[in-house]
Amino acid sequence: MYEGAVQDLIDELGRLPGVGPKSAQRIAFHLLAADPVDVRRLVDALTEVKARVQFCTVCGNVSQEEHCRVCRDPRRSNEVICVVEEPKDVVAIERTREFRGKYHVLGGAINPIDNVGPDDLRISELMSRLADGTVTEVILATDPNVEGEATSTYLARLLVPMGLRVTRLASGLPVGGDLEYADEVTLGRAFEGRRQISA
């Protein structure tokens, strides 16, 4: 245990995700030795992020204003909504530059162990976005794990009866990989989702 402020800093850093006690200690001593200007910049960034960043009132993505950049962009289609779990998934899909519609961030996935049910996700917000009939397709892009699949199934059961086109991201073989190294589950999915080639 260190004295007062140093230990307080280590404890706070240790509460961050992915930071263990040893890393917390290393970061704390790095900050202690760092230039006060650099530390000031970090402090400002932290304050700024809490003061200025909010969540987009439409899609739930992180934003500096009431509506996020994607929702404000007039060039993007209002007819397709891609549903993701977290804001970081938006960033991942944006990097592909393939998608020109809008997003909807749920804020997680259905997870009874952690007591997360449909009411804890932004599902009613999604429903009200669909009410005026502009949206024709909903892409379900939740994580390909047990909880993400369950969330997608739940949403599909709500959305399909509404007459929307509901799609799920394909899961299958990694690009640039070797078939023999793919695990059985992935390969099985790839078989299920195979596509016809027109010559």
């Binding site: 009874p112 049910g117 449909p118 009411d119 047990v146 199934t153 739940y154 059961r157 059985e184």
Partner: protein, 413 residues
């Protein structure tokens, strides 16, 4: 295949030990508590990523050390593979194959295959269904390592669905006392979704199990006959929870149960539909008890002997014969597959024969069973035997002898 070298660092009682091995029989001999079983346990760990003695990795790390390392060289048809596993309790384990890291430890499954006999095997016959389910699932992983991903997804679905059932049950009971009932049950709407997931993944496991039982059946019958010298017929069956009755939540006989009847043609789609149907029938009980009552986690491998269930009817000696027959049948299945079955798992190629490990079993057996078992395993490519005294190693198993004493291993013959 065989193990040509085992090296342990901070594993159980060993700070560091090097154990070169050869094909054929190797007997590890030493008084109890000297570390014989630790050596064969480590070999089994590389094959199954689990210990046959404890369920948590923490017990495998030497007291005072932060991690344990198991290094093992497996030779198959003159091709040698070095597997290195680092056990980090509380953190993710790490694995290397031929000195390059693999993505997940489970990627090493399939490099080494073992069949391990231990005194605990008697519980396969006399104990709870859980041990028999584990026998089937572990064998399924050795037959087809990738099934491990399906098993872990299933486990995840069970835990999520169980949590939902538990909270729904609690809310319903609370609601009954408070007045209003239905509305206070949280998220029962999502139960349908979890039913679908359980049925989807559970059906894959169920079909895999049913097929495995069909494939094991002839091997078990033959092995039992050989070990017991032809007394009574050993017949495997499978009891599924599909037909669970509404009255008491206990499984009633289902079409799958009939011992000795093969079900190779059963389809995943059919099983999925049956699982969904069973869950909708059992919904009230499941919510009341807050437990998953339907699915392969409630099933049992049925062991029949001369038309009667072995549990409760078989004598001590017969139970041992049955336990040995189950292990011997696993060995036969892994070695040869089932050539007569085109849907099965034939064609392993050369050198697929698993390493046989006999951990302290001969001391448990009478002299006739001891002799027959020894004759049956003597021809295997590699047999690792542990025994407290050299006299416990049957004479049919003549080979290398390694003394294990106080954490030191010494080749004496």
């Amino acid at each position: 295949m065989h193990v040509s070298h085992l090296s342990l660092t901070d594993y159980r009682s060993y700070e560091q030990v090097e154990l070169p091995l050869e094909p054929g029989v190797s007997a590890l001999v030493g008084p109890n508590g000297q570390g014989k079983t630790n050596l064969v346990e480590a070999v089994g760990y590389v094959a199954t990523l689990g210990s046959h003695r404890v369920s948590s990795d923490a017990a495998l790390v030497r007291a005072g050390a932060s991690r344990a390392v198991v290094r093992l060289r497996a030779d198959r048809n003159d091709r040698s593979t070095l597997v290195e596993l680092e056990l980090n309790p509380g953190k993710a384990n790490r694995a290397q194959v031929n000195r390059s890291p693999v993505r997940r430890p489970r990627d090493v499954l399939g490099i080494l295959r073992t069949v391990l006999f231990a005194p605990e095997d008697l519980a396969l016959v006399k104990g709870d269904p859980e041990g028999r389910r584990r026998l089937l699932d572990e064998l399924a992983v050795q037959v087809s390592p990738r099934i491990v991903a399906v098993l872990s997804d299933y486990d995840r679905v069970l835990r999520q669905r169980g949590a939902l059932l538990k909270s729904a049950g609690a809310a319903r009971r609370g609601g009954r006392r408070g007045g209003s009932a239905e509305d206070s049950a949280p998220d029962l709407r999502t139960l349908d979704v979890w039913d679908a997931k359980l049925a989807q993944i559970g059906a894959q496991i169920l079909r895999n199990r049913v097929r495995l039982v069909d494939q094991l059946r002839p091997h078990v019958a033959r092995a039992y006959e050989q070990v017991s010298d032809g007394q009574g017929a050993a017949v495997l069956g499978y009891r599924s929870s599909l037909e669970a009755s509404v009255d008491d939540g206990r499984p009633a006989p289902s079409p799958l149960d009939e011992p000795g009847v093969p079900h190779l043609d059963v389809s995943i789609e059919l099983l999925e539909a049956q699982l969904l149907e069973a869950m909708s029938r059992m919904r009230r009980q499941e919510i009341e008890r807050g437990v998953n009552l339907v699915g392969p986690h409630r099933d049992d491998l049925l062991l029949h002997l001369g038309g009667m269930p072995a549990k409760g009817y078989a004598s001590h000696g017969e139970s041992w014969s049955y336990a040995l027959a189950l292990r011997l049948a696993s060995y036969e299945l892994l070695t040869h597959g089932t050539p007569e079955d085109e849907t099965g798992i034939s064609g392993w190629g050369d050198g697929a024969e698993p390493v046989l490990i006999l951990d302290d079993v001969f001391a448990e057996l009478d002299s006739r069973r001891r002799g027959r078992l020894a004759t049956l395993v003597a021809k295997a490519e590699q047999v690792l035997v542990t025994a407290a005294v050299a006299e416990d190693v049957p004479e049919q198993l003549d080979g290398a002898r390694i003394d294990v004493m106080g954490g030191q291993v010494t080749r004496v013959r």
